[in-house]
Symmetry: C2
Subunit: 303 residues, 2 copies
C-alpha cells in the first residue's frame, strides 16, 4: 500500500504542518482537510495548508486512504465517531496526539472495523491555530508510532513511510511505554512551566512588571512553554494521568531533597547534581535534538 490521499481533521499547528510538509515533500499525495472552526477553514484555504479545504469532515475523509486526526486528544473519540460512516473501510486511521493509550482506546471504540495506528510526532512550537504550521516542523524529529497487536504490516509500513517522507525519524513503541516516556520528556516539563509562570503571576511582594522586566534570568524560557495551547494540554494531562502523576511524585521528592540541601547549606549535594545535569544537554545537542548555540541563539539577535 502507498498513501495517495490524506484527510487531515483539524487544521492547527500540527494539521497545517502536515499539509504543508506533504505539499513540499510528497507532492504526489493529495490532501483534503477540515476544521470545525469556519474561520480556521478560511485561513487554511488562504495559506494553502491542504489541497482542498472541505466544508464538512465527511467530504474531507471521502476517498482517503489515510485519515489523521489533529484535534485535542480529549476530542478525538467524538470527532472520529461523527465521521465513522464516511471513512473508507480500508483507510488507515491515525493521529498526532501526545498521549497514546487513551487515543488508541477512543479510536478503536469510535471506528471498530478500521485499522487504527496511533502516532505521535514529537515536534511542535508554542504557537497554535492555522497560522502556526510550517513545512519543516518534522525535520529530524522523532515520530513515535504505537501499533496495536496484530496490526496490518502493509499499512504500518505505509504510515511509517509517510512520516519518513515528511522528514521524521520513525520509532515503534508500546503505547503504555510511550505515555511514560512522554510524561517525563514533555508532559511534566509543561506542567512545571505552567506552574512556575502561575506562581510568578500571583506574588504580592513582587509585581508582574518586575517579573517581566527581569525574566532574562531564566524565567522567560518557561514562559515559552507555558504559552502552549491550553485545550491541547488540558487534555494531555487528563488522558495521561497515571504516568504524569508518577513522574510528578518523583520530581517533587527530588525537589524536596534540594530544598533540604539549601536549607541546611549542603553545597556538595547541589554541586554534585548541577555537574551531572550538564552531560544530558551535551548528548541532546550531539544527537541533533537542540540548537548548539548558547542561549538558543538568542544572543545573535541581541540589541
Amino acid at each position: 500500500m502507498t498513501i495517495q490521499r490524506v484527510a487531515i481533521i483539524g487544521l492547527g499547528l500540527l494539521g497545517g504542518s502536515i499539509g504543508l510538509a506533504v505539499k513540499e515533500h510528497l507532492p504526489e499525495v493529495a490532501t483534503a482537510g477540515w476544521d470545525r472552526d469556519p474561520a480556521t477553514r478560511v485561513r487554511a484555504a488562504e495559506r494553502g495548508l491542504v489541497g482542498t479545504v472541505c466544508e464538512t469532515g465527511t467530504e474531507a475523509v471521502a476517498g482517503s486512504d489515510l485519515v489523521v486526526f489533529c484535534v485535542p486528544v480529549g476530542a478525538i473519540g467524538a470527532v472520529a465517531a461523527d465521521l465513522a460512516a464516511a471513512i473508507p473501510a480500508d483507510a488507515v486511521i491515525s493521529d498526532v496526539g501526545s498521549s497514546k493509550l487513551s487515543v488508541a482506546k477512543a479510536l478503536a471504540e469510535a471506528l471498530p472495523g478500521h485499522c487504527v495506528i496511533p502516532a505521535h510526532p514529537v515536534a511542535g512550537t508554542e504557537r497554535s491555530g492555522p497560522d502556526a504550521g510550517f513545512a519543516s516542523l518534522f525535520h529530524n524529529r522523532w515520530c513515535i508510532i504505537t501499533p496495536p497487536e496484530g496490526v496490518d504490516a502493509d499499512k504500518l509500513a505505509a504510515l511509517s513511510a509517510f512520516w519518513e517522507g515528511l522528514g521524521a525519524k520513525v520509532e515503534l513503541m508500546d503505547p503504555q511505554h510511550h505515555d511514560l516516556v512522554l510524561a517525563v520528556t514533555s508532559h511534566l516539563p509543561h506542567l512545571i512551566a505552567y506552574t512556575i509562570v502561575g506562581t510568578a503571576s500571583d506574588l504580592e511582594g513582587v509585581t508582574q512588571s518586575e517579573v517581566i522586566k527581569y525574566s532574562a534570568g531564566g524565567f522567560r524560557d518557561f514562559t515559552r512553554i507555558a504559552a502552549s495551547d491550553p485545550t491541547m494540554w488540558r487534555d494531555v494531562f487528563l488522558t495521561n494521568k497515571d504516568a504524569v502523576l508518577e513522574m510528578l511524585q518523583r520530581f517533587s521528592e527530588d525537589l524536596t531533597a534540594l530544598q533540604r540541601a539549601i536549607r541546611w547549606g549542603d553545597g556538595d549535594t547541589l554541586f554534585e547534581l548541577f555537574t551531572r545535569t550538564r552531560d544530558i544537554r551535551r548528548s541532546i545537542i550531539e544527537q541533533g535534538q537542540d540548537d548548539a548555540r548558547p542561549d538558543f541563539g538568542r544572543s545573535d539577535h541581541a540589541g
Copy 2:
C-alpha cells in the same frame, strides 16, 4: 567622576563579556583583568578579553577607579579581602553577582573603607569560562544596582553610566527586594530545571537514551538552563536561601494544587491556569526581553 580604568577580577562569561563590551562601546576606558586560573588567563589574553591580563590580582587593581568582581558569589569576600591593600582608596567596588544582600555584606566586611556599590546585570547564557563571553551580552538587558544607604552620588552615577555605556538599562533597587525578585525570575527557574533534569536521568522505567531522543517535547528547554555553571549556582542558592525557600514553598503549593486537579480530572482548573499564563509571554516579548520567533527561532534551523 568618569571611569577611566576598570579592573575585572574573574574572566569567565561575565568578566569576559564586560571586557569585550568595554572595548567595543567605551574604547577610551582601559581594562585590566585577572583570573586565579592560569589557563583562563592564557585564553583571556588570546581572545583579548581585556586590555591587560595581569599575573596577579594586585597588579590588575592597581590604579583602577572601578573594580568589578566577576567570581562566584560565595568567593567574593575572600577574593576582595586578598586585594584590599592594593585597591585604590577612591575606587568604586562592584560585582555582577546574582544575590545581593550577601555580596553587599561580604564586600563591606572585606573592604571597610571603600565605596561598595553592588550590581547585577540580568544577562547570561548557559556557557561559562573564558570562551563564553561576547560584547553584546548586556544589550537591552537590565542591570540592577543596589546602592547602600548614603552612597556617594557621583560614584553611583559613574557606575550607572558605565553599565549604560555597555548597552544595559539601569534600575536601582533595595538589595533585599532584588533578592526576592531574582528568586522568582532566575533562581527558582534554575533550581527547577536542575531538578527535572536530575529526575529524568534517574528513572528505571525510561532510559537516558529515550529521554534524549524525545527531548524536543519540552524537556530540552530545561537542559539548557541546567547546563549552567555549577559553582556559580551552588553559591547563589546558598547565599539567597531565604528568598529561594519562600518561592519554592509557593511553587510547591501551586504544583500540589495542579496535581490534585489532574488526579480528580478537574479540567477547568487546568484550562484556567493554562490560559492565564499566555499573557505573561506576550508582555515579555513586547518589552524586548525575549525572541518573538516560535520555538526561540530553532525551527528556522531545522533540518
